[in-house]
Symmetry: D2
Subunit: 353 residues, 4 copies
């Protein structure tokens, strides 16, 4: 209810503030007896951690995870897994100068209105650092999904106004943008590096493809697979929209164009993005999210202080000029959590006597 949990059977509760003692997650609902190592989880966290390239924040967090419960002799026990990352490189003093100012684009104002006080250390609970717990839990989900033949791949589709033309999954982890097109990635890097020099930031689009989900996964009405994927994706800080398959282009399409015809080999097209009526069709699940430009920029911006008086603010610090590449593993983690949870719900629902 208080907003820090996600999932029904395979369920996470994240905790921790950007500049408190630790961030992390309790993952409940794990099947017992699954072999898993801390390295497998760390590997995903390393994809999310700061300092991976010149356009991401240099905050020096090793982001090493410890698993304090739910594991025995390198196998899951079926009891809650506490995965924790202690905060090290936190310098709340760096925020003292702006502790009374609302940073534009940040949740400072809305949080202060809600909670009645200001946790001015970094972004507190609203920090992107909270997603580390999601990625740790998502690594467990991925492990389980892999065994079912399900594979999730997200990547930057567009950034700095440059769109990927090709889809070459082999290049994604080899360029700092995690773009799916090496040539586009180079151009994106040029644009964003320049934007960064101008003390500014840029948005982009992240696309996600999920293969291996057979037809029939998802629940009807309110728990549709696409509804829950949307919920999951919009719960990521900088995400402002989502579209499935043909997406917003469907507005101008006719039924005869958008409907995916079938023949003896299955579906002929996939305008639906792999989900119809909230249930998987067996086609690739395909969606795109829009990522807003990073709010923290060193360029001077107009804002007000806690008393409502106009001020100028420069958010000098360690920030990402384009957050897309670091959102990629979070998108994959959240998609994995949604899918694994739906497989569980399906098992619960379909139980024969």
């Amino acid at each position: 209810m208080a907003g820090n949990s996600f999932g029904q059977v395979f369920r996470i509760t994240t905790f921790g503030e950007s500049h408190g003692g630790a961030v992390g997650v309790v993952l409940d609902g794990v099947t017992p007896g699954v072999p898993i190592t801390v390295e497998e989880i760390q590997q995903q966290l390393d994809r999310r951690k700061p300092g991976q390239s010149s356009i991401t924040t240099p905050r020096a967090e090793p982001d090493k995870v410890s698993i304090l419960s739910g594991i025995f002799e390198d196998h899951t026990t079926g009891t809650p897994m506490l995965m924790i990352l202690y905060n090290r490189d936190f310098e709340p003093t760096a925020y003292l100068d702006i502790k009374d100012l609302f940073r534009p684009g940040h949740a400072d104002f809305s949080y202060t209105q809600k909670y009645g006080f200001r946790d001015w250390r970094g972004s507190g609970r609203a920090s992107g650092r909270e997603t580390a717990g999601r990625v740790a839990a998502g690594a467990v989900a991925r492990k389980l999904l892999e065994a079912r033949g399900v594979s999730i791949t997200a990547y930057t589709k567009r950034a700095g106004g440059i769109e990927c033309r090709d889809y070459d999954p082999s290049v994604i982890e080899k360029n700092p943008l995690r773009a799916c097109d090496a040539a586009a990635a180079e151009k994106m890097m040029e644009v964003i590096s320049k934007v960064k020099e101008e003390d500014d930031s840029m948005g982009g689009i992240v696309e996600c493809r999920i293969s291996g989900v057979k037809a029939g996964l998802g629940e009807p009405v309110f728990d549709k697979l696409d509804a829950e994927l949307s919920h999951a994706m919009l719960s990521i800080g900088a995400v402002k929209g989502i579209e499935f398959g043909a997406g917003f282009a469907a507005a101008d399409m006719r039924g005869s164009q958008h409907n995916d015809a079938m023949n003896e080999n299955g579906f002929v097209t996939n305008n639906a993005g792999g989900i119809i009526g909230g249930i998987s069709t067996g086609e690739e699940i395909l969606f795109r999210i829009v990522v807003k430009p990073t709010s923290s920029i060193a360029r001077p911006q107009k804002t007000v202080d806690m008393a409502g008086s106009p001020k100028e603010i420069r958010t000098i610090g360690r920030h990402d000029a384009c957050i897309c590449p670091r959102i990629v593993p979070v998108v994959e983690a959240m998609a994995g959590l949604v899918l694994e949870d739906h497989y569980r719900r399906q098992a619960a629902m379909m139980l024969d006597s």
Copy 2:
């Protein structure tokens, strides 16, 4: 868990199939002592019901609601409200011809894969008729929200390839498209009527504006206001995407453009669409959803039968050439349910001793 409930405190469970005995809703979590009449609920249902114009289905359902519990002497009692609409104009025999064919764009195939059998009467549980229960419960939510000064207005922003230029709320209920621009509405009607003559259908975009929500509503992390609105909107049958504020355009924006600056009068712009960090900013909440073209079209389409053999299908019947105007009240209802629920959660969370 099984997907038929929505909300945490102010919670609905809908029931019923397109061609079964009844459709409706149980609404739980209503404050006791609120004056409400069956007419207020009926009024919203009348906006959703079939047969309102030449481009909507002529299915002859009076859609009269009965309230069988939770009301005493024209006031809510605080106990569950059962609101039910008995089905009358159901002719499952009309579906006998296509009972073994998967209608393209419909949930027939994915549902059959999930449930292991085919409820061929209309669309069964996947029918848009299920949304009647949502609209009935939404009418109660709106009543409560109005008393808080919150107002929700949805309308067709784009249909038939025509986009509204003006925003004139006074014309919305006066044109069959529920468009916010009378001139655009006329052109939309022309295009869609022609498309209908061609046995085809068209998609569109519905926009929703919510005013009167003060800064500070919403929960952090996973229950962000925009995440739950997205969940709610994507749970509506034909919706394939959502965007808030600047939406997908944010992909090409810079932080210095997208960040909403503040001055002594509040926010200068509203690119965020009224929500930052999942919490309301006090600005108008603004989002758009894309509605796919109606799947049922009389034009011949390629499909397969239950055995997987290729067939041709024509979905002759009573269908909407553009479903946008009938989705408008459902969008408002779902938005109302999300907001009312969040007010309740906020009260639960913020409780002083």
Copy 3:
């Protein structure tokens, strides 16, 4: 949250007031394709309905159930089942005389304090009539459990100060007390008939035995099988306590006595009542609940009116002198709902990839 739902996967929401339009239940989470008839459900409702003997209320309710959704061609569809019983013999005018008085032992006072108004028609939502919905849903649970070899039998163990010595399941449905000992049942009937003549009522103890549950059902920590059975049983109006296995007698026992030893044939004793650590042991699950004497008695009692002034009240009407026999099917229904739900959760949790 508002208290009208129970279960996590196999989940019910009951609705309706004693003297409103209807009572009933929405059951969600039913496996599709299960053959079930309205007669099977009616049969359980007939065991709960009023007017079965001289010591139960003669309220003339036929209690005929209608299933308005979730059924197609005599099989479950996997969508929510709406099961409804329209109220017929409601005479709220019979309650006009006492509409301003709090009936001792009834929820009139506590409900009025909570909700801020008085629904004086019968007991409103607090009426035992609400349990009809539970019994209807329980009938579906029993059907599913039977196929797993699980059998649930409840009966009156003690009433009117008389305790059953024998356990003869064949006599339970053949005596008006639903006692498990024919000789004891006769004596109970004598005592209670006399108590009834004296315008009074009596309490008793209902025992429940569940066989066929293999070792390993239940969840750890907070969702222990006995914890949830306790929750379920104490949610029945007149129930004031529960004990498992040796129960309260364990207070004076030693570990060497209470511990159930094991040998090559399994457990030697069953002091635990079939559940240890919240998980079934494979032994018979055994618990007892205490049922308070019916609150409504014709004998004059001291109370106050809505203004707090002392008054005398006689609850003349149609009441049960001992409610045990009518609670028996409700106990079985609730036990069935808890078990079926736990089988589902186990399936969700234990899912192999």
Copy 4:
């Protein structure tokens, strides 16, 4: 769903095994801005920790709690509180001898059947050590409840076959049994010390009184205050039953005796134990739970090994001869969590516009 969470608004998730890295709790739903210190939480944990007297286990755990999130400048932030106790005195090797034997009265057998493997280190997740997290969260609940004037007092009512005659709250924390009668406590101590010398253990009864709850708290039907208190209490390892007010004695009472009459000063008696229809009456809430004798005894017992062969077992180690005094703070904690959660739900439900 997986059983490790409790509460709806004020919600805990506990984690940790007896002999893993740590035990603890994530508490979500805390009101922001409440002053709280780690000492206040530690104080409650000290009442639960081992080694407090000659009849409790000497396991040398300092049980020092760390709060790693949800606190800023000695006030709650409204975000999840992670409270963790690292395990120190764990010697799983002590369990090597019995790692293939099922300890009678323990959850070894049922857990192994459920999870398919044996976590033989102590009792793993089924250990009483798990309750430390509950007590930590309960300390926060108590702080909030105190401000509302609600006070919770549990104590040993009966142990070693000795029943307290007097109720003197001032002696409870001054005797090792936490009994409410100093003279009875001395006799209990004599009996239990002797039982301990005989390598055996004893059960008892713990009673709980809650004062300061006004009439009207609780939810109807399934979330009755007594139903949820029962759920909470039966979720504590050794508890096998619960009764409210007159409890099991009500079985032999008449309505005219059990009904609590009212006069101008309120209720004349409190046979209901402060709850009618699941809602508080304003009288003291009173319940008793039965605690089974500690399962771990050094006396030889008959059991089987993992292969089903008969064996003899002696559970030599560090155990409590009577667990009642250490259950007392857990009962108070769980009662506090239930009540605080219900105050929140009431606020959510009763919200005026």
